[in-house]
């Protein structure tokens, strides 16, 4: 309500500025920093764990100006803005260096423009690798996924998995644990940080990590509503964008640390961690190119263009 308050909503577990999920910590640091630099004229309030609104309502609320900011996997907006599906396109990003290059590359600019047209501005470019938790055999190569019941978690990943011969199923993320415990589910894919908070190591013994390189990268930016942003004085706008950019290094460090941490968690629980090599990533990429990429490019001209620009960063 107070003039200078920015409400930041996200779906991840809440903690403090120094402890917990790095995505929550990032929001808290961001809030503290903008408060400091504007001498308290601007302050952020973080609502973790979907405690303000439903996860899927966040993006459109930001669009409409009902929510100020959100840190959200961009592909969640895929039904609303088809181009955002590029944010979780298997094999289109294979390492952190490439991911970081997007912001300044043509694809980044094109994506930012599309979002700006829809009323959303990117404050921080945040990327995260993910992995696969499996209760039976590790899923390293596409052949390993054949015949397994896998939750891909997105339309694009499901397409790749189906092509690899998996029996894909959908279920809400909060049911993964129970389904894996009973064996209704063999494997699930998600970000390293979420793999840690879901505690699947208690029911899954094999982990494929995103350390080094992987076909599973997710873009989950910190976003601000354009209507909210444009109402702020120029000086405050500059602070938001500057602090947002500074947070990117913190995010990168946090994401990489979790890729390592999740491996340690599985090893400690008596499981085993596997890494992907170049050849394996190429195999997944080849399948994705024929399925998910094609499907995406076929949606409309704008998507086809985004894909082309994204491929240029490979």
């Amino acid at each position: 309500q107070s003039a200078g308050e920015l409400k930041i909503s996200h779906q991840f577990p809440g903690g403090t500025a120094t402890e917990g999920d790095f995505r929550d910590r990032l929001c808290r640091r961001f809030s503290a920093e903008i408060g400091k630099r504007t001498n308290g004229a601007l302050r952020g309030t973080v609502y973790p764990g979907s405690s303000l609104m439903k996860t899927n309502a966040q993006f459109s609320s930001v669009r409409k100006g009902a929510l100020d900011m959100t840190l959200v996997p961009l592909s969640y907006a895929g039904g609303e803005v088809p181009e955002t599906n590029i944010g979780l396109m298997p094999g289109i990003v294979t390492n952190y260096d490439q991911a970081v290059s997007w912001k300044k590359a043509e694809v980044g600019k094109a994506l930012a423009n599309i979002l700006a047209d829809k009323g959303v501005l990117i404050v921080s470019w945040i990327w995260q690798a993910g992995g696969v938790a499996s209760r039976t055999v590790p899923i390293v190569n596409p052949e390993d996924a054949k015949g397994l019941k896998v939750r891909g978690g997105s339309r694009e990943m499901d397409m790749v998995l189906k092509a690899a011969g998996s029996t894909v199923l959908t279920l809400p993320s909060n049911e993964i644990y129970a389904a894996m415990q009973t064996g209704a589910l063999d494997a699930a894919m998600t970000s390293s940080t979420s793999l840690i908070s879901f505690r699947l190591e208690e029911v899954a013994k094999a982990l494929t990590t995103g350390r080094g390189k992987t076909y599973w990268f997710m873009f989950e930016p910190l976003l601000i509503s354009r209507t909210v942003f444009e109402k702020l004085p120029k000086a405050q706008q500059d602070v938001i964008m500057a602090v947002g950019a500074e947070m990117e290094a913190f995010a990168l460090e946090g994401a990489k640390a979790d890729d390592q941490a999740v491996a340690a968690v599985y090893q400690k629980a008596g499981g085993k961690a596997y890494d992907l090599n170049d050849a394996a990533v190429k195999k997944w990429q080849a399948i994705a190119r024929d399925t998910a990429w094609k499907d995406f490019a076929g949606k409309n001209e704008s998507c086809a263009r985004i894909l082309k620009l994204a491929e240029a960063t490979l």
Binding site: A77, G79, E80, G152, S154, R155, K162, L169, T170
Partner: protein
């Protein structure tokens, strides 16, 4: 039914006065509710069957089941919204009637009219906002972000229709309440 304690229907008196326009509209609404309840029953059964079949398809035939959950959700959400008007016609949306016995009859009648008026205002507001959402989903061609990716105007359409019917049903009861009072 086996047990004698279910006095369903026994507590409610005929709400809509007989004769006149209100009765005609009421008949029309009742017909509509009956048809909706029939279709919703089918939706409920269908949702259950789809969930069952997905167990069979995936576990025994190893066929991916990536649309069944969402399909059942839409059937159930659709049924929920569409039935709201019927439930209201039965006064099945439960409220706290604790003060009813404390008030003199006239004041209590006014209270009931007030309750219906507030309910009507809220539900029409919600219907209007649903309509805007439906329009937006239609114009933008929005879908869900799942593998199946069905268009969102379908469930939003059920929400809008259901809430509108609910509002009309409350309006009917509200008018009946006012008419009854003037007698």
């Amino acid at each position: 039914m086996s047990h004698g304690f279910e006095l369903e229907g026994a507590v409610k008196a005929p709400e809509i006065p007989e004769g006149g326009i209100l009765e005609g509209i009421n008949r029309l609404m009742q017909g509509l509710h009956t048809a909706i309840m029939f279709l919703s029953s089918i939706a409920l059964l269908l949702a259950s069957l789809i969930l069952c079949s997905s167990v069979f398809l995936r576990y025994f035939l190893k066929i991916p089941t990536d649309w069944q959950d969402e399909m059942s959700v839409f059937l159930l959400v659709g049924a929920t919204f569409m039935c709201a008007g019927y439930v209201q016609s039965q006064r099945g949306h439960i409220g706290i009637e604790a003060v009813a016995s404390l008030l003199p009859p006239l004041v209590n009648r006014l209270r009931l009219v007030f309750c219906d008026l507030v309910s009507f205002l809220f539900c029409s507001f919600f219907s209007w906002k649903s309509m805007l959402l439906l329009h937006e989903a239609w114009v933008d061609g929005q879908t869900t972000s799942s593998s199946w990716a069905p268009p969102l105007w379908i469930p939003y359409g059920f929400m809008t229709t259901g809430m509108t019917l609910l509002s009309l049903q409350i309006l009917l009861q509200l008018l009946a309440g006012i008419v009854r009072k003037e007698k």
